[in-house]
């Protein structure tokens, strides 16, 4: 079920009403209803894959319970590995089987040995990368004794399948979300109103910014041989805004929806395109994934401690794995590696934690240095996005090669496109709104006239939204 679909527009109020008016008396009922609603939400797409979520839930619940009774370190390790192997096993099979097979076949044929590999026609279960990481975080935290294992299966099932964030995150930590299922939720008007506003803002980013940019970016990326350098550059910029609007919009809708049900999820995006260096960018972009990799991969590897060699290795591992998490394609691996290359100088100079505050914290506008830093970081990011967006590595390199031909003209096709007319003012508006609300969770929070502001955003959605070309959320494919 898409957040921007009629199905969800009916599903959400129905679930909301039942949740607050029918099952509100009892915590167990509340949690059970969330599990049922979440399974309906997921099954709407393909009910067969509900078995995967259920199996993953059963395994991690059982492992958690077993860990609570086990003090022997080696046995605890075995339990942890059971969880890791089951979860990553599913992920590996559904997401990476064909990729590894194709690459093995190619590698063997390169050395003169022809081997036969049978590719499978595998459907990637929506959201598998997200809920897998979420349940893994639970088992690892329990294993590390940082979290008490739950004895309540329904609460745990609700934590794993919680529908607002099931298919594309934010990847919640058990330590934040699970305890919220232990307490009966009381309706909080302030929180719910804030949630509603955040949903509206998320819809604006998705329907107005991302979906409109998508048409432009898709056209340019699909016909990159026909376009001049300036248009190709514009295509990469449009994709940067498409993916930002798409994913951060989704996150806002997910967080806002959770608030309607009395839950607080962690912020997933914090105006990342206003970052002054790539380290800051990664503290602000897809925060739930970045911190997941930091806590469960980077720090266990040694993080920024140890020799320079180890530090470099760790940075490359975390970024490449993060790239690979996005998809089984070399484009994502190169995208990750490129970000590691960007990050490395900061780490080596010990400057990766210079910009931990918000840019121009106490002033209206950035100074020239900050502006330069933001533009440069955005430029680097755009360059990396080309790999992320391209069908394959060869196309990415050709796209970049064509950019560096330095031909400046907007082709006729581009000029005729309706979006040349509307998109640039809309993007400027997004940048301005986000700039002036960069210290807040979302722009409609704590403003003087929130209702007026919200209605203005609704007006923009209605007038400029791309409804004839509704795009699926990009991160659904991951």
């Amino acid at each position: 079920m898409l957040f921007n679909s009629i199905d969800f527009a009916i599903f959400l109020p129905v679930v909301f009403i039942i949740y607050w008016f029918v099952v509100n008396k009892n915590l167990k009922l509340q949690n059970f209803f969330i599990v049922i609603s979440s399974y309906v939400f997921y099954g709407w797409w393909d009910w067969r894959f509900l078995s995967l979520i259920l199996f993953s839930t059963l395994v991690d619940y059982a492992v958690g319970v077993a860990l609570s009774k086990q003090n022997d370190l080696s046995k605890r390790k075995i339990l942890l590995w059971i969880s890791i192997l089951v979860n990553l096993g599913f992920l590996g099979f559904f997401k990476y089987y064909n990729f590894f097979l194709d690459n093995f076949v190619t590698a063997f044929s390169f050395f003169g040995t022809e081997i036969q590999g049978r590719s499978l026609n595998i459907i990637l279960p929506v959201g598998i990368s997200f809920y897998t990481f979420q349940t893994l975080s639970y088992t690892i935290d329990v294993y590390r004794r940082q979290l008490e294992p739950t004895k309540n299966f329904v609460s745990f099932a609700a934590f794993v399948s919680f529908f607002p964030q099931l298919v594309a995150g934010p990847i919640e930590r058990a330590s934040n979300l699970l305890p919220q299922f232990y307490v009966k939720r009381q309706f909080n008007s302030k929180l719910a109103i804030d949630g509603l506003r955040q949903i509206i803002w998320g819809l604006f980013k998705k329907v107005v910014i991302a979906d409109n940019c998508a048409q432009f970016a898709n056209d340019i990326f699909n016909n990159y041989t026909d376009y001049s350098s300036s248009t190709l550059l514009l295509g990469a910029i449009y994709f940067a805004f498409q993916i930002y609007g798409d994913f951060s919009g989704y996150s806002d809708i997910a967080i806002g929806t959770s608030k309607l049900f009395g839950f607080n999820l962690k912020q997933n995006f914090a105006t990342p395109y206003f970052s002054r260096d790539i380290a800051e960018f990664w503290r602000r972009w897809h925060i739930s994934l970045s911190t997941w990799f930091r806590d469960y991969l980077y720090i266990p590897l040694g993080g920024s401690r140890g020799s320079k060699g180890n530090q470099i290795r760790n940075v490359f591992i975390i970024f490449i794995v993060s790239g690979f998490w996005h998809g089984a394609n070399w484009t994502f691996i190169i995208w990750g590696a490129l970000n590691a290359v960007y990050f490395l100088p900061l780490l080596l100079k010990n400057k990766n934690r210079v910009h931990t505050n918000v840019v121009a914290e106490n002033s209206w506008l950035p100074n020239l240095k900050e502006l330069f830093q933001m533009v440069t970081t955005f430029g680097f990011t755009i360059f990396a996005w080309i790999f992320f967006r391209a069908e394959n590595v060869e196309i990415a390199f050709l796209y970049i090669k064509n950019i560096f031909k330095f031909s400046i003209e907007l082709s006729d096709r581009l000029k005729l496109n309706r979006f040349a007319f509307e998109l640039l003012p809309l993007l400027s508006m997004l940048i301005l709104i986000e700039w002036f609300s960069r210290q807040k969770e979302h722009p409609i929070k704590n403003v003087k006239h929130p209702t007026v502001f919200m209605l203005l955003i609704v007006l923009l959605i209605v007038v400029f939204g791309s409804f004839s070309n509704i795009q699926e959320f990009i991160y659904f494919q991951f």
Binding site: A192, L196, L455, V462, G465, S468, N469
Partner: protein, 290 residues
Amino acid sequence: MKTFFKQFVFALTVFFILLVILDLVYTQIYSHPVYARNKVNWLMNKEPNQQFDYAIFGSSRVFFHLNPQQIKSETGLSGINLGYPGSNNFEIKLMVKEFLKHQKTKKIFIQVDEQYNKERLDPIAIIPWMPFIKDDYIYNEIKTVDSAAVYKKYIPFYRYMVYDSKLGFREIMMSFINANKFDSTNGFAVPSGIMQKRRELSTIKLENKKNNQLQIIIDICKKENIDLFFFTAPYYNTSINTEVLKEQLPNYRDFSGVFREMDYFGDPSHLSKKGAEAFTSLFSNTYFKN
């Protein structure tokens, strides 16, 4: 909970009012545009009760092919080209009915081709009619072929949202600043480009049965005492079983194979500028000079 619902209902009410206002504004602009940007709009805004010697209806294969101005210079007859891209039998019927509501003519020409067997609406060609769906007659017509017509009529602004790429903000703005290319030529748009690659023979197979939409036009013309003609415009290297059309339609003439030269075509289904001039002459000689 009360505060939340109060706010929610308030926001919903304002949202609904907003949709109603936007719907009124958009519909008003499309009903009385500074520049009519499509054929439906153009026809709706034509001065009523004009007498035309003929009117031609069809798809892009009329829009880009037959120039009423050229016919006037060759025969002295004044006519109007009401073809527009994508228009199918259903939209042609709507166009004929709308035309006869406000204008007069002695002869009507309908272009028929590979789309002959289609009875349903064309999802693109129907869009220019959407601003006028509140008109009972247009709504009753559209609802027979579109199950979503009821939402488009009754949910304010819904039709402008679902067709945002054709009826959205850009089109509204363009109707203030950018004139169409067919106003000065009585509905004819000059084609551009010449076909570069020779194409293998392609075959179009029509089913031998009546088309209900066209039958309605035949009945109307009979009732109004208007001479009705059907024809097929030229194709490049295409075999089409036009004997079906000869059998099913009155006063049918087949022009599908009259041109063989590549430079007469922009693509296999559309003539070039040179081809359009030649076809207009041929059309005018065939129907108006005997």
